[in-house]
Amino acid sequence: MSATTEPVEPATEHEVVTLADTLHETHGHAHDGEHIPKDGYFIKVALILAFVTALETSTYWWPDGMKSFATPALLIMMTIKFFMIILIFMHLKFDNKLFSLLFYIGLGLAVFVYMVALFTFQFFRQ
């Protein structure tokens, strides 16, 4: 069950341009009112991801003064890319919330237990 707009049918003979119609330009609709973004939308997302990747790679060449910011910057960029792929490419944003719940439980547990374990190894004390 998609959490987005239903297919819009014109209520009168004159078509009313609604927000849904605007969304139609970037998002198509299949049967059952399922929400599918059009190809162009995904290409835009891919370009953003490529850009962020280039930014990440650029840290390799950052001068020493900036290098100390590299780690937090990289972690932020990694997280942005991670969630863009999960939410958009994998459609989690548009799908039933149960899928999100099931996946995030696994993700959350993984992050929690492994960070705690690394903590006991004094990993974060550098």
Binding site: L98, I105, G106, L109, A110, F112, V113, V116, A117, F119, T120, F121
Partner: protein
């Protein structure tokens, strides 16, 4: 009586493998292998995807491994019955306690819970099978082959000897050069796949295949506990998978993960193992919590007290259980901060468990108690698990644990909770559900002997271990020396003897159980449909249930739906009273009179057993000859593709109804 359809046109003969396949519709098979069709005989068991048959197979094999693990335990207790004993050599003793634990945990308790879950979960939610029947079958065969594989190590150079927790660097090839640990690692990888795919299967089943009206908060507690367990398995199995891969890469391919000379940290293994290991112990106990949550209300003739609390506390235990694993590592050098945090977390987890104990006790309070064997085992669980839990609380307190760890005090704790809790709960399930599965009730007379021998036996065996531990007897030591026995009441000598005698008392109880099974098979009368006046949906079926479980999927209106169909509250002069308005037979008859006209059941398949068979071959190859692995991998690939190409829904596979004259067998309509 449901009318099962025959196909009106049978497809023409299929093209043999290799012939050009021009236009094949998805519902016909590729033709190289015809789908198995028999519904009787050994083939109907080997290729089955029916959850009930799989449940029975899980149970039979698990029971067999229970006896194997039990013999291993008796050998241990024989060795420890006297000081400086020579029944087992040191090397053999190490193998014995390793395999005893491995067998009991992975090859008995977990699969036995799977047996009950497989058989009864679909029935309890009003489904006709699980979401992925072939995967269900795969799980069983992986368990069977994995279990056999591990145990062949006994005759192929010696079994694993590093303890079931397999601490490094002790587990490396340097300290354990035989192949035993390799068998252990690979065998657990095989059975681990079964647990993982089984977890996915059952979660999807519970979420998606409930009968109309079966809201989540109307599901029986057993189903709820199984659901929590599947989430624990889903997320814990990958962690031990990582650990097992790292160990096998070290032992077989020269990796350095636990090589201290290269700078490895032995605690890496401990963390990975116990991050799995602690959820694992909840995986062990929660099925029994679920079982007794069914048994106690039935035989107290009262609904479960605080259903919501029991459900939520089960989920809480599953959740908080992820935060306590390092309480197995208090003495390993973690440092005071980590120890303190895990100590507090461990104490917290006693709370939801305590909630359950309170709810079970209040279920009994004021009830009209019927002391069947199932009930007595269930009450036994409450008592023995509480005792085990009390010693557990002392372990949670890190300072006292520092004395207790690696001693028999710990052995006492976990055996009380596992044998007294999990195993007795499973026995409660046997006696409760036997009439549903096999049309006969187990003998109550033999059952009472079974119970009391086990109850006394558990206390006799594991009670003294509290003393032995506090007196300093360490775990995993092949002998306890005479000169350290001590004098006075708490000497090691006397209590070790008592403990060993107790082990044989338990064995006697188990023997009585086996005798009970045989006696019941041969001599017991047919049981009524609803011998215990039960409350949940699985009892609105024939005994044993028909292949399709329900003639009509029941519509659920309340928790304890079956109970509410039999009883209604009626206003009398003395106030509202519960009056029986329908018998179980009448409830069933009403469902049968509205039988569905078309029922499709999932078709049997070769691929689960073929796929499962390929994995031990690969494993033997890793240990002995890599060519074997290549062969096994080829079979694996074949099985995966065969499975993927096999139609998932064989529309033409319907069963003929059994003829009233007992003439026709139930044959699948052939595909051609």
């Amino acid at each position: 009586m449901a009318i099962i359809e025959r196909p009106t046109d049978v497809p023409a003969t299929l093209a043999p493998a290799g012939a050009p396949v021009a236009r094949v519709t998805p519902t016909t098979s590729l033709g190289a292998f015809k789908r198995p069709v028999s519904s009787t005989g050994w083939k109907s068991w080997v290729f089955t995807v029916d959850h009930k048959k799989l449940g029975i197979m899980y149970g039979v094999v698990a029971l067999f491994f229970f006896l194997v693990g039990g013999c291993e335990a008796l050998l241990i207790r024989l060795q420890l019955a006297a000081p400086d004993n020579t029944v087992l050599s040191a090397g053999l003793y190490n193998q014995m306690f390793t395999m005893h634990a491995t067998t009991m945990v992975f090859l008995f308790v977990m699969p036995m819970a799977a047996a009950f879950a497989n058989y009864f979960l679909p029935l309890q939610i009003g489904a006709r099978d699980v979401a992925f029947p072939r995967i269900n079958a795969l799980g069983f065969w992986l368990f069977l082959f994995g279990g056999i594989f591990i145990n062949t190590s006994w005759v192929l150079g010696g079994a694993a000897d590093g303890g079931w927790f397999m601490y490094s660097p002790n587990s490396s090839g340097l300290f354990s050069p035989s192949h035993g640990i390799d068998f252990w690692v690979l065998g657990l990888q095989i059975t681990g796949i079964a647990s993982l795919v089984g977890a996915i299967n059952l979660i999807v089943t519970v979420l998606n295949m409930r009968a109309p009206g079966m809201k989540l908060m109307r599901m029986p507690v057993f189903t709820w506990m199984v659901l929590v367990i599947q989430f624990l398995l889903l997320f814990a199995m990958p962690v031990i998978t990582v650990a097992l891969f790292l160990l096998s890469f070290q032992r077989n391919f020269g990796a350095t993960f636990f090589d201290v000379n290269q700078g490895a940290d032995p605690l890496l293994w401990q963390h990975l193992f116990w991050i799995f290991g602690h959820p694992e112990v909840y995986i062990i106990i929660l099925p029994s919590f679920g079982i007794i949550s069914e048994v106690l209300p039935t035989f107290a003739r009262k609904p479960l007290f605080g259903y919501k609390f029991v459900v939520f506390s089960g989920a809480a235990i599953g959740f908080v259980g992820w935060g306590v694993w390092a309480h197995h590592m208090f003495a390993s050098g973690l440092g005071p901060v980590s120890v303190a945090v895990f100590s507090v977390a461990t104490m917290l987890i006693a709370i939801p468990t305590g909630v359950k104990i309170v709810n079970w006790t209040l279920t009994l309070w004021g009830g009209k108690l019927w002391y069947t064997t199932a009930m007595m085992f269930a009450i036994g669980v409450i008592i023995l698990f509480t005792i085990g839990g009390l010693s557990g609380v002392t372990h949670a307190v890190a300072p006292s644990d520092t004395q207790q760890t690696d001693t028999y005090h710990i052995v006492a704790h976990f055996h009380y909770v596992i044998v007294g809790g999990a195993v007795m709960g499973l026995f409660s399930g046997f006696y409760y559900w036997w009439p549903k599965m096999f049309r006969r009730c187990l003998s109550e007379r033999l059952g009472k002997w079974n119970f009391w021998l086990m109850f006394f036996g558990v206390n006799l065996t594991f009670g003294p271990m509290h003393i032995l531990g506090l007196q300093g007897q360490p775990r995993r030591m092949v002998v306890w020396p005479d000169k350290l026995t001590g004098t006075g009441f708490f000497n090691l000598h006397f209590w070790n003897q008592v403990s060993s005698v107790g082990a044989f008392v338990i064995a006697l109880g188990v023997l009585i159980f086996i005798i009970n099974i045989v006696w019941t098979w041969k001599k017991a009368p047919i049981a009524p449909l609803d011998p215990w006046d039960a409350r949940t949906l699985e009892w609105i079926t024939a005994s044993p249930p028909k292949e399709h479980n329900f003639d009509r999927i029941p519509t659920v209106h309340a928790l304890d739906e079956f109970f509410h169909r039999k009883y209604e509250e009626v206003d009398t002069d003395d106030g509202p009273r519960l009056v029986k308005v329908k018998t179980a037979e009448e409830v069933l008859a009403e469902e049968e009179s509205h039988a569905d006209t078309h029922i499709h059941l999932p078709s049997p398949s070769y691929w689960p057993i073929v796929l499962a068979f390929s994995l031990p071959i690969i494993a033997y190859g890793v240990i002995f000859n890599r060519l074997l692995s290549v062969g096994g991998a080829a079979i694996l690939l074949l099985a995966v593709f065969g499975w993927a190409l096999e139609p998932s829904v064989a529309d033409d596979s319907d069963y003929d109804p059994p003829a009233d004259d007992g003439g026709n067998t139930k044959e699948l309509a052939t595909l051609g």
